[in-house]
Amino acid sequence: MSTHYGIYGGQYVPETLMPVLREIETAYREALADPGFVAEYESLLRDYVGRESPLCPARRLSAALGGADIYLKREDLNHTGAHKVNNVIGQILLAKRMGKTRVIAETGAGMHGVATATVAALMGMPCTVYQGAVDVRRQAPNADRMRALGAEIVAVESGSQTLKDAMNEAIREWVATAENTFYVIGTVAGPAPYPEMVRTFQSVIGRETRRQMLDRCGALPDTVVACVGGGSNAMGMFAAFLDDRDVRLVGVEAGGEGLETGRHAASINGGRPGILHGCRTRLLQTPDGQVLEAYSVSAGLDYPGVGPEHSFLADAGRVTYAVCNDRDAIRAFDALCRYEGIIPALESSHALAEAIRLAPAMPKGSRLVVCLSGRGDKDMGNVADWKARHPDYRFEPLEKGSRHV
């Protein structure tokens, strides 16, 4: 196995976890080679998650913008409301195969926590979810869902009390309990083999999208856009297109209040290489190598690192990484609600904002796919709060060819 992506990736963990990582890697390779495992994974994606997810043309939005035809990959229609469940099913099946009797997870927005609690219930496994105390409050509906599903939530009070601290605490618990406990990491970060494993379990997104585009249009998309927190929905989407050199791939980082304010979560655009949570990647940090708190209106993008493969793809120039600030994400959120009757997650709204920016400049008849990674029910309170704090904000209807965002 290659544990590195250029200078990124690796296994920067305490020695106690090294034999654990080796055990996971071996089990993961064997599972992928076992048709029984793959069949079980695929049948759960079909029968339980409801895949495949539609590739839905956004007709009114495209017409209003002019330019490219926009298509939405509807991961928001998955059971639990986001792409996270694709990965969780793979990892919990692996945990069972390895004889582990308990799962733990970190969560920010709570979507990965809800997905883990859900699949743990399905498989009859006890589940503990680590969530920063700040996030437990700002994503209260998801905390309630996790508890309803029988998971224990640990509200992490250390550090910035958000996703990175939740991950710290989950790793601490894992170091102590790995003999019987499987750590279900929610994105393409962490020590090898997690980035590769999570990408594999999410790559169904891109595989379906590629086939759906060919079936519907007889051609590949010109541009594919996905939001990047840790980067799992983006990696799952991009994986199928990496070798299609003509397909422009765009990841969108959370610009928060703007890169220049320092209050953002754009690790690729605003960070430099560093080591956190088991891997080397681009990281928001002080000149002295202390990790900074990230900020975004979207809790799921609020992470100071990013999956190592994204750092690699950014350096290699294969994927372009744009930045979208809070205001543009809110505007894209409103736009999708009003023009398509779909309430998107704030995370996904970042990708939509970039699509709204790019589409008018693209030729008529060209094709732009957006990964709609999750639904926005969880964000109603956050959107209302943001608007209350920004009374100058008004949603202006989109005009043909205009560059609103």
């Binding site: 020695e15 976890l17 090294m18 034999p19 550090g159 710290n168 990281l283 190598g289 900074l292």
Partner: protein, 256 residues
Amino acid sequence: MSDRIRNAFAKARRRGRAARIFYMPGGFPDRAASDTLLDILADEGADILELGMPFSDPIADGPVIQAAGQRALAAGATLRSVLEQGRRLRERHPELGLVLFSYANPIYSYGPEALCRDAAAAGFDALLLTDVPHEEEAEFRRPAEAAGLDWIPLVSPATDPDRAALLTAGCTGFVYVITVRGITGERTGLPAGLGERLAALRRVTGLPLAAGFGIADRAAADAVAEHADGYIVGSAAVRAADAGPDALRAFLRGFR
């Protein structure tokens, strides 16, 4: 290779005891008070001091060391300031074994080559990185050894003997034997099987073996000393230091 680390174990052995190793984060609780605490550690019997570089995301540490590190950072601790503390400590305590203890990122950010040169010049004897396993060590271990610093390997209860042989091969200094699967923090009693583990390690390495994690008092230290060449006290010492210089002094005298 460091004479001071070797001598610290040799001296303890001559006196029929285990080497006393204490961990303390640099800059805790603030820069001025930290120097006083480090002097007390050196004066009251530490053979080797692990001077910690505090880190924002200490995944291998329990609540006591986490909190101490965050306080030190809030009070302005930087890798440079910790190196300076090491230099001052070295001037006053020429025989003390001095280990720079850190997570990878502050060292990586400083630049491993520059850091190892500066640490050796400041008077450090060794480098220990908690989240850099054997597979990732080259980038840090090479410059450490080139600068004359010992590279301190960690072995855990999860490490089998073949792997322990791999981790310790070519090392100088000592082996940090983690007593438990878990993070730092005070514990009562000692894990069963520590004696056998240490005996097994002796079959794969001739280096001194120092055991740490969870050792909170004299009784635990004595029990460890029956099998190990040294013991390492972290959280309990930090907790005592948090109560002030007198409390730390009293705590250390309990080990003499």
